[in-house]
């Protein structure tokens, strides 16, 4: 057995260089949820990148998560695209949460065209945020979206079923929603930092 050396003394003697990740620049895209902003390495949505949101079932609060952002973007007259949403966006509900519907385009696309349309919108550079609900998306397709979001400098939100949680994902941020016992969100992966261990509570969005 070699000599036991305390780590502290090594650090003190400056014989060990402690690597530290380069801090990410602060995001200019706050999520609108202070607790979530505080937990994310850049303090907001990863910019020019894809965020994957995993859901146990439809209608648990997935829009609740992004509506503050959509409200902020559309009030700045920036364009938002919804690609193949599973239900009809209900205008009174969206407007009550501050979204200007004139800047929201709803794109009806068949299952095969969802990813194509999302890529076109992201790449175009004229959309601030693109929300897509693909049913079939493999690793390669998601990577294309991630690249397209980077090219077009847009926020991409991809909503998928929770069962894809085990599949690797090129998304810069992966969030998982849980509806039991109350609405909360878990950060599964975030670029530029360690995902925090706990769950972050979200307010239910009915009132």
């Amino acid at each position: 057995m070699g000599q036991v050396v305390a780590l502290d003394s090594l650090l003190h003697a400056r014989q060990i260089w402690k690597g530290r990740a380069v801090p990410l620049p602060d995001s200019s895209q706050p999520t609108g949820w202070p607790a979530l902003d505080a937990a994310l390495p850049s303090g907001g949505w990863p910019e020019h990148a894809m965020t994957e949101i995993l859901l146990p079932i439809d209608g648990v609060g997935e829009l609740q998560l992004v509506l503050p952002t959509l409200a902020r973007l559309t009030r700045e007259a920036r364009s938002v695209m919804l690609i193949a949403p599973p239900y009809v966006p209900y205008v009174p509900g969206w407007e009550a949460r501050g979204v200007v519907m004139a800047h929201v385009d709803i794109v009806q696309a068949g299952e095969r065209d969802v990813l194509w349309a999302a890529e076109q919108c992201l790449r175009s550079g004229s959309c601030a945020a693109v929300l897509a609900w693909p049913l079939q998306a493999d690793d390669r397709a998601l990577r294309r979206l991630q690249v397209a979001a980077d090219t077009g400098k847009a926020l991409a939100f991809v909503f998928r079923d929770q069962r894809h949680a085990l599949q690797a994902s090129p998304a810069a941020l992966r969030l998982e929603l849980e509806s039991e016992p109350s609405l909360q969100v878990r950060i599964r992966k975030c670029r530029g930092g360690q995902p925090p261990a706990g769950m972050l509570p979200l307010a239910a969005g009915w009132s």
């Binding site: 648990v60 239900y87 009809v88 205008v91 509900g93 385009d105 009806q108 969005g205 009915w206």
Partner: protein
Amino acid sequence: MLWACVLLPQLALDGVLRRQPPTEAPLVLVSGPAQARVVHAANRSARAAGLYRGQRLTAAQALLSQFAMVEHDPEDEARWHHLLAAWAYRYSGEVGLLAHALVLEVSRSLNLFGPWPRFESLLRDDLKELGFRHRIALAPTPHAAYVLTGVHDGLAVMTPDTLRRALSPIPIARARLPGDVTQALPSMGIRTLGQLFALPRAGLQRRFGGELVAQLDRLAGDEPSPMENYRPPDTFEQRMEWTHEIEHVEALVFPLRRLTGDLSAYLAGRDGGVQRFELELEHRSGPPTRVTVGMLSAARDATLLFDCARGRMERLELSQPVVAMRLMARELPPFVPAGRDLFDTRPTNAVPLEQLRERLRARLGEASIQHLRRTVDPRPEFAQTTTAGVGATSVASLPRPSWLLESPRPLRGPPPTILAGPERIETGWWDGGDLRRDYYVVRTSQGQYAWVFCAPGEQGAWMLHGWFA
């Protein structure tokens, strides 16, 4: 004055080659009467096998067992020539057509497109993109430029005094002089243009007539060249024909790219745009299939035109094979380029929003993009519409979900927890769609927040109408 000459040595052959994806297989154009067919033009691999222009077809077949043959069509060649003139019109207001060549006056264009070497490479890039072989030369007179292109590709003579030096060594045979002169002069011992320039004019006039002297004056710039100025036509029409039949829409993509590219080049030439054009797919028999491609605003970008047209084509069911395709554009409104803010932070390759919507519509269908707008109708089913108009502006204070189901359906599962309600919606008597419902916000056993309704005063038998997602 400075004239650029674009010589198109293979105009007819390039016209045929650009109908099909690039190929290295030998191909020749044939012309002449049925009894004495001759090779009119041969592509690179056919020439490598020993085929040449003017060769008897029987001799060519003896040399090479297999090659594709296309009948030479002078009208087709003239069409390509005019298309290129329309393209050149973009770079100069004075464009003239000469046999197998175009001349354009460029002295003023240089201010706009940069010094000659850069301008020249612009021209070459365009021609390469369009698929035409070319030689380019620059000279102070159009005829001198025409003669120089035949001798030296890429030569630029900027001033009249260097012009004579550049012309002097050119052999008589390549000086594009009137036909009989070209044969007579060498037999008199005059082999170059320099020797000819040195001869006394009066003698030449007596011996060969005024035409030769006038031609020499035009070459040297002592006399202006009579030339008809090209003016682009007000409509665009281009047709492509194949020797075989095309059965699949996918195989039409390549010619379609060519046609829309030509349209774009033509539009750039006249600084215009197009809002609507027609594609006609011709069949062996029966009427042609027509496809109308419309855009929201005038456009001329080659990629955009192609994308829109391809989107329309891809949804087409071909009933019969296609033998020819025609593109016609009759409405050519002025083109207004999309304005960009100087401090715009968007990426430089950005596609404007309208263009993006056009692209999506072209592939996904006309009704694929919707805008939702609130109405004054209190019934949830009619509280929003996709049609344009003035919407209601007041914001409801009562809870409203963010997702709405297309049509209500029974809520399944264990009984939910009621969070809010009832809110009675009782209206619609004016158009027969009256309803009387009590709406509640409930939480399902799975943790979803749902917007449900039931008959007034009866809880249970919930109908699901929306999600507070």
